[in-house]
């Protein structure tokens, strides 16, 4: 029941203080935001940090703002914050559609979008939408800041490009002027399950699409081959069928206790078609409301 390993807990009050702690302890330090992954991983002994740095005392990191067409999500923005954000529902509603199917209310009240990307489990929900949207991860360390495109972020199950001593401070999403989006997540049952497979689609004017899949590869994957096959073509039955036929080239699912590889592949084809249609219809302001159940 108890966390068996002892550790030091620190809650810095400023970014500089937090970065100094992370620089001092490197990989022996773990960043704590919502803790919904970190604390269960510590309980399961998957991680054993010597120092836990609680960043909830850092000012300004919970803000969700829109600046010059770019959505900024502070590292402390939770999925519930995303769901409640008028900025998100006006400018990037597919992000709220995603947040609404993450775990349960009690988890969403605590878990952060940035933390979901940092945990980087293959079934993470934030990844597909943000990868399809070409989001950027902003990182700070004592020796300066850097920005990594999400496309270079995921390095495998629970592995990211983040180095010891670094802290994710913000996720930024350069929003297209007009877009329709859709996030579909397949679970074993409705409510709170991890994804067996998920797909995010952004439809842009001119029959241009951006697509990413979750839970069907070691990391969230962008579907460049499918995007190319759809480029400039109206979404008729032949185009959709051709796109669905490319799914096995893009994903590499495994069979585990949640689903077989075959079922995941089949459902990715089904979900891709539905998500493409819904995103295209939403682009034309003629689609199902965001958050409506399409599976």
């Amino acid at each position: 029941m108890t966390l068996t390993r002892s550790f030091t807990y620190v809650k810095p009050g400023s970014l500089d203080e937090a970065l100094a702690l992370l620089a001092e302890h490197g990989r022996a330090a773990a960043v704590l935001a919502g803790g919904t992954d970190l604390i269960s991983w510590m309980r399961d002994d998957l991680v054993a940090p010597e120092v836990v740095v609680d960043i909830k005392g850092l000012p300004g990191l919970e803000a969700i703002t829109l600046v010059d067409g770019t959505l900024r999500l502070g590292a402390l923005a939770t999925f519930s914050d995303v769901l409640r954000s008028p900025v998100v529902s006006a400018a990037f509603p597919v992000l709220a559609e995603m947040a609404g199917v993450v775990a349960s209310v009690g988890i969403r009240n605590r878990a952060t979008v940035a933390g979901n990307l940092c945990s980087a489990v293959p079934s993470n929900d934030a990844g597909p939408v943000l990868l399809a949207a070409d989001a950027l991860v902003q990182i700070a360390a004592t020796d300066g800041e850097r920005t990594i495109p999400l496309a270079e972020w995921f390095r495998g199950p629970r592995r990211t490009a983040l180095r010891g001593g670094e802290l994710v401070t913000r996720i930024t999403v350069p929003l297209p002027d007009r877009h329709g989006g859709c996030y579909l997540k397949l679970g074993r049952y409705r409510g709170e399950d991890l994804a067996q497979a998920s797909v995010a689609v952004l439809a842009l004017p001119g029959d241009h699409y951006r697509i990413a899949f979750g839970a069907v590869a070691p990391a969230t994957v962008r579907a460049a081959a499918i995007e190319e096959s759809l480029e400039g073509r109206p979404l008729d039955e032949a185009t959709l069928a051709a796109a669905a036929d490319l799914v096995p080239e893009v994903i590499s699912p495994i069979s585990d206790l949640r689903a077989s590889a075959g079922y995941r592949t089949h459902m990715c084809r089904v979900m891709l078609r539905r998500a493409l249609r819904a995103a295209a219809e939403r682009l034309a302001d003629d689609g199902p409301p965001y958050g409506e159940r399409l599976l």
Binding site: L3, G35, N109, G191
Partner: protein
């Protein structure tokens, strides 16, 4: 190792000396002595350890007690201190529970829901309870009770 932590639990102030490895669930049950938050799955799935932290439901098994320093915590013991809350009365009238292990978490999830949406739809009720597992009832009498509580003026 010890951290001086102040918790406000159901309006009462508790000054505790805690090891950082102690979860909020452990501190509430073992130090403060409130027993309504239950030890269930201890991985955030079952919802039986649900408490309100500054008005929002959280999984107290996934929160360190030191993180809650200065926070306002409400457990079932803090709900309806002066007679049952309307939602508790509705749950009673609908005979909603059997063993009752999930009941504290479900009441708190319902309290959070009804505070934000006084007249929730069935879908909103189901969504609010999606993270509270009940193995006895099939949920229907629980959902009916919360909907009934939401119909009251």
């Amino acid at each position: 190792m010890g951290h001086r932590v102040t918790l406000r639990v159901n309006g009462e102030q508790w000054d505790l000396d805690l090891d950082p490895a102690e979860t909020l669930l452990e501190a509430l049950r073992g130090r403060v002595g409130v027993k309504s938050p239950k030890v269930g799955c201890e991985r955030g799935d079952c919802g039986s350890c649900t408490v309100l932290l500054n008005g929002q439901t959280v999984r107290s098994c996934l929160v360190l007690a030191v993180e809650a320093d200065g926070a306002e915590i409400t457990t079932l013991e803090g709900i309806g201190c002066e007679g049952l809350a309307p939602v508790q009365r509705a749950l009673l009238e609908h005979n909603s529970f059997q063993c009752g292990f999930c009941a504290p978490g479900i009441v708190l999830s319902a309290v959070e829901l009804l505070a934000a949406h006084p007249h929730p739809t069935r879908h909103q009720v189901q969504e609010a309870l999606a993270g509270n597992l009940c193995r006895c009832t099939g949920y229907e009498p629980i959902i009916q009770a919360i909907l009934a509580a939401g119909e009251e003026p």
